[in-house]
Symmetry: C2
């Protein structure tokens, strides 16, 4: 079933075993997949300007509904013209439903060490803001309404994401409730030209995942996501489940693996047939002084870079490498507590992720994905 | 006496009463004066990239010798090609001598509440690093050597800067010692094509200032600075002294007022005949959420901007205003603790300062400086 919301289409360009190269058209432009979405939690990709994010090669970003619901509030964003206008991001954008953070962040906040009033009931979530304890209710319908006000191109349905160690019965119940919520989300009206993706749960139980994927495939979602991965399970278990489940997701719609991951995770998940990713890793690690490069990771504070005049990666075209900022200078600035290296490393990492997905697309189109994946991992010093 | 170091020249373009428009040529390009130098303490203007600083209209930046002496060390900077190469700053650059921070910062550090071993003797300063307590010695000759290794275009002599409330005898002694240090600095060899400026002290004693200015004018410095202002004295006393002293500084060399100031301070000091300024204000205030605009200051966190879709200044050509980031978005990001608004406000403020000095130059060249100054201050809601 193809995406049915006006303004959206998804067309496969090439396949190579399970991997696919495709184009996902949105009202804010074309997204070539596989693609990586930088995370702009508060409406901004941390430390970077929208121009820099776009120039890095990012075609689509993710913003967090939970954070924007709390501050500045969806009505304020709507009054200012919606997220694109508010944040000056010209390309495609997706919002998550807010459910994951409502559950994990509000519940886990050190500001509210007493178990906060987080109810996760048939209607949705009742939670206290991690900022000031204000009580919020996030029902399935309200998640659609809030994301409608935010006005991104793609909404995500509210879902139930059980923890990694949840027993099978809990995961089964999460799957069933997520399906009920899927139907409710689809029957809630949302702005024209705003797509809605469903979310497949099922933990690392391949049979639950496959059944849920089939259930959701029957519904008129514009895309299908895999939620509930990267929540603490061993990464090999995720990949094992992915290899089995990803190829079973309806091939006519974008397949989105939420919250993943490292360059190695992307390479392997693309091989399993995933089209879209989001993760804080390239920007968070950038802010923590870590750069991803073709030949592995660089921890910029290490003494070995003290007098190293080389850029992070001399084949990289990002502003940090192209302008020849040296490892020594970046290290100096990082140790001095300056903001510039956090920007430069974040930017470099986003360029690296964009270049990685570009390389994957090219390899798929040239029918040499497995070979490319192996060579790329080997060069980074990673296991295949 | 004109600047005598090869690679440097200073030529008056126009004068209007005491105000001057001039060109100061350096090995890294021409600086049109009056000019404002953003401060890049650690070799970077905080939050900004060198490209952004250059695009803001800054023609010359200042780096702090004290900070670079401590970390990464002048030998490291030299091994990496000097400050221009190290920091990727393509235009003119000046380093201070480090004395002011050695005295004020090392002494004032909360990490060393016990009075640290700061000696201020005939040879220079002996001080403990505010970072880790390491003992450093900064003599007149070592200040020249260190600044030579850093390799900026302009060095500053080591000087003695008494506190604002110092009695006349202390200021007199500081003046005498600064003159002795001036001679020692000039007779210490430094790299070719690196200028050296002398520093006039004398506090707010106009007669001491005038006498010291005459003493230093007799020495072959490439420029003359006024130090020891903006150290806590009432700002009106500074301007009163400036009106008297600035016009007496040798007109054939650049006149540099160190560590000043607000837009109003610049406008008034330019009127008194000052050519160069440096100050952390536009970037520090930017990081604290304050924007300078044609019509006064904007404190971005204020509730009045909550749903304000206007840019900071709709006549401003800086990236923040030209890309139409709204006050509402900047406020949201600032309250959310994001880095982007610190960048955007810093950048906006540097554009504002550059535009202010451009306006001053134009007004001087058109012989209407007093009128321009009055109108500009009135529009900002400031007293003349």
């Amino acid at each position: 079933m193809k995406p049915s919301t006006p303004g959206f289409s998804f067309d496969i360009v090439a396949t190579d075993a399970s991997a696919r190269s495709a184009v996902f058209d949105t009202p804010h432009g074309r997204v070539a997949t596989p693609t990586f979405m930088p995370v702009g939690t508060q409406g901004t990709v941390k430390t970077l300007s929208p121009d820099e994010v776009a120039d890095s090669g990012a075609q689509m970003v993710l913003a967090n509904t939970y954070h924007l619901l709390l501050r500045p509030g969806p009505e304020t964003v709507a009054a200012l013209g919606g997220l694109h206008e508010f944040s000056r991001w010209p390309r495609a954008m997706l919002t998550d439903s807010g459910g994951f953070q409502a559950y994990s962040l509000a519940a886990a906040s050190p500001s509210f060490p007493q178990r906060p009033l987080v109810q996760h009931a048939e209607d949705g979530f009742l939670f206290k803001s991690h900022l000031d304890g204000t009580l919020f209710s996030l029902t399935v319908e309200r998640a659609v309404l809030v994301q409608g006000l935010l006005g991104a191109d793609v909404q995500m349905q509210l879902d139930v994401c059980p923890p990694a160690d949840a027993p099978r019965e809990v995961v089964e119940e999460a799957v069933l409730r997520t399906t009920r919520w899927a139907r409710r989300a689809l029957s809630t009206s949302r702005p024209a030209r705003q797509a809605l993706f469903g979310i497949v749960q099922g933990g690392c139980f391949a049979d639950l995942r496959a059944a849920h994927a089939a259930d959701l495939a029957a519904l008129p979602f514009d895309g299908l996501a895999l939620g509930g991965f990267s929540v603490g399970e061993p990464i090999e278990r995720m990949h094992e489940t992915l290899r089995d489940v990803a190829p079973k997701l309806d091939p006519d719609r974008p397949r989105y693996l939420m919250g993943v991951g490292t360059p190695r995770d992307l390479i392997r998940a693309i091989g399993a047939g995933i089209d879209m990713f989001d993760c804080v890793l390239p920007t968070r690690n950038g802010r923590n002084g870590q750069a991803f490069t073709r030949s592995g990771r660089i921890v910029i504070k290490q003494a070995q870079w003290r007098e190293d005049g080389r850029p992070l990666d001399d084949q990289c075209a990002c502003p940090c490498c192209a302008r020849r900022f040296s490892r020594a200078f970046l290290r100096h600035l990082y140790l001095a507590g300056e903001i510039l290296p956090l920007r430069l490393l974040s930017l470099h990492n986003l360029h690296f992720y964009a270049e990685l997905t570009r390389g994957a697309r090219r390899a798929i189109e040239e029918n040499r994905y497995a070979e490319w994946a192996q060579a790329t991992l080997a060069q980074m010093g990673e296991n295949p």
